[in-house]
């Protein structure tokens, strides 16, 4: 049986949910869970929960549950979800909001020193810079 979730007004309007809204500018409550975002996401196979469930969790105020998933870090920022959303919600921005909420607390998700020098020299600047922009602050 699924775990029982206790919903409270405080949780749904909690400070973290507010910060994600402030960073992304997206009103997650407008999402009606059609699932188009997850259907179109090119990286969904690598996510632990699909994008529409991120939206649902945020609607329910389950921000910590969202921040503990790998999903925002797998997001490619390709905007496939954002252009397909029938509610015109920019889901990619919500993912950026989740990443930034974490980065603003611990500054980095990715440590450049874990990259061996061979890989670093092989990769083009465009890949490295894009990666740093997403995973460091």
């Amino acid at each position: 049986m699924a775990e029982k979730i206790i919903l409270t007004h405080q949780k749904i309007n909690g400070p973290d949910a507010e910060v994600i809204h402030e960073i992304s500018g997206v009103n997650v409550f407008a999402c009606y869970q059609c699932g188009n975002c997850s259907a179109t996401c090119p990286a969904v196979d690598f996510m632990d929960i699909p994008p529409h469930q991120i939206m649902r969790n945020l609607q329910l105020g389950l921000v910590n549950e969202v921040l503990n998933t790998k999903t925002p870090w797998i997001c490619l920022a390709c905007l496939s979800c954002s252009v397909k959303c029938p509610r015109s919600l920019d889901i990619a921005r919500v993912m950026e909001g989740c990443r930034n909420l974490i980065l603003r607390r611990k500054y980095e998700y990715f440590n450049i020193h874990t990259l061996d020098s061979e890989t670093r020299l092989k990769l083009p600047p465009i890949a490295l810079i894009a990666n740093f922009r997403k995973n460091l602050l």
């Binding site: 390709c78 083009p124 465009i126 810079i129």
Partner: protein, 291 residues
């Protein structure tokens, strides 16, 4: 005609073939691309954060310098630079409060910037302006019989406000290919993401994407693939050999920049450093009489 040109970091390193052939093709078409005297890295990814304007400073500073050099339009070859610079201008234009904060932060003495003084355009838009038939007339050859898969990727099409063509059904690359005598291949994966910067942290994503994209193009008869994004080029090209190492049935497909193909069609042989390709395109190009 002269146009300001913003190269970006990768065009000077791993995408040298793109820059050299693009500038040569443009010259042939009567366009002189003048590199900006001062430019900065755009940051590659447009920052989607609403509340931190610091992340917009790098692309906006480049646009300000372009304006100060007297340009009202600049060309970007790299699609990620195009996307970032264009969206940064739109982000600034949309809000006066943002303009005030950004301008307060800029270099002392710099004239303020609204975001609409310099227009950022990409290569395909410039091609459309020159005229597809004109390109066909100056570059085209008959009897080439080369089946080419045009790959758009994300940054030229999304978000819609910066799309260079219909965001879900673009035709511009097909039109260019057809005009120069190649056969564009229709295949479903042409506007899908290649896995982007996850090549650094989660290369498995790029492996899966490359496989799907290349197989889709191959199954529809493609002999080469053409791209306009240096990151797509790296991902789609370099990963193929690794996939083949784990699965010998996987058939590789050479990936070229669109301008490399156009230059060869126009008889411009120089400018290509073939060591920058993982899957060697030379055999197919020789077979078609292009090399």
């Amino acid at each position: 005609m002269e146009i300001g040109y913003y190269p970006g970091c990768t065009l000077k390193t791993s995408a040298r073939n793109f820059e050299r052939t693009a500038l040569a093709v443009l010259e042939l078409l009567g366009i002189k691309a003048v590199e900006l005297s001062e430019w900065y890295c755009c940051g590659v990814n447009f920052s989607q954060v609403q509340d931190n304007l610091m992340l917009q400073l790098a692309p906006l500073r480049t646009l300000m310098k372009a304006r100060d050099s007297g340009f009202t339009r600049i060309l970007t070859l790299c699609t990620m630079c195009y996307n970032t610079l264009r969206r940064a201008s739109l982000f600034l234009q949309a809000d006066e409060e943002r303009q005030r904060i950004i301008n307060d932060f800029m270099d002392r003495g710099a004239a303020s910037y609204r975001g609409d003084e310099v227009t950022v355009i990409d290569l395909l838009t410039l091609f459309r302006e020159i005229g597809i038939s004109e390109i066909g007339h100056k570059i085209g050859r008959s009897g080439i019989d080369l089946k080419v898969a045009p790959y758009y990727g994300c940054m030229l099409l999304r978000p819609r406000e910066v799309a260079v063509d219909d965001a879900s059904d673009p035709t511009i690359m097909e039109e260019v290919l057809q005009s120069v005598g190649c056969q564009p291949v229709a295949y479903p994966m042409r506007i899908e993401c290649c896995g982007s910067y996850q090549i650094v942290n989660e290369p498995a994503v790029v492996w899966q994407r490359t496989r799907l994209i290349v197989e889709s193009a191959r199954q529809n008869g493609a002999e080469v693939m053409v791209v306009l994004c240096p990151l797509c080029h790296y991902n789609l090209d370099s990963v193929q050999l690794e996939i083949q190492r784990t699965d010998s049935r996987f058939q590789t497909l050479p990936v070229l920049y669109l301008t490399q193909l156009l230059a060869l069609l126009a008889g411009i042989g120089e400018g290509n450093d073939w060591s920058l390709h993982s899957v060697d395109p030379r055999p197919i190009l020789k077979a078609k009489g292009l090399l």
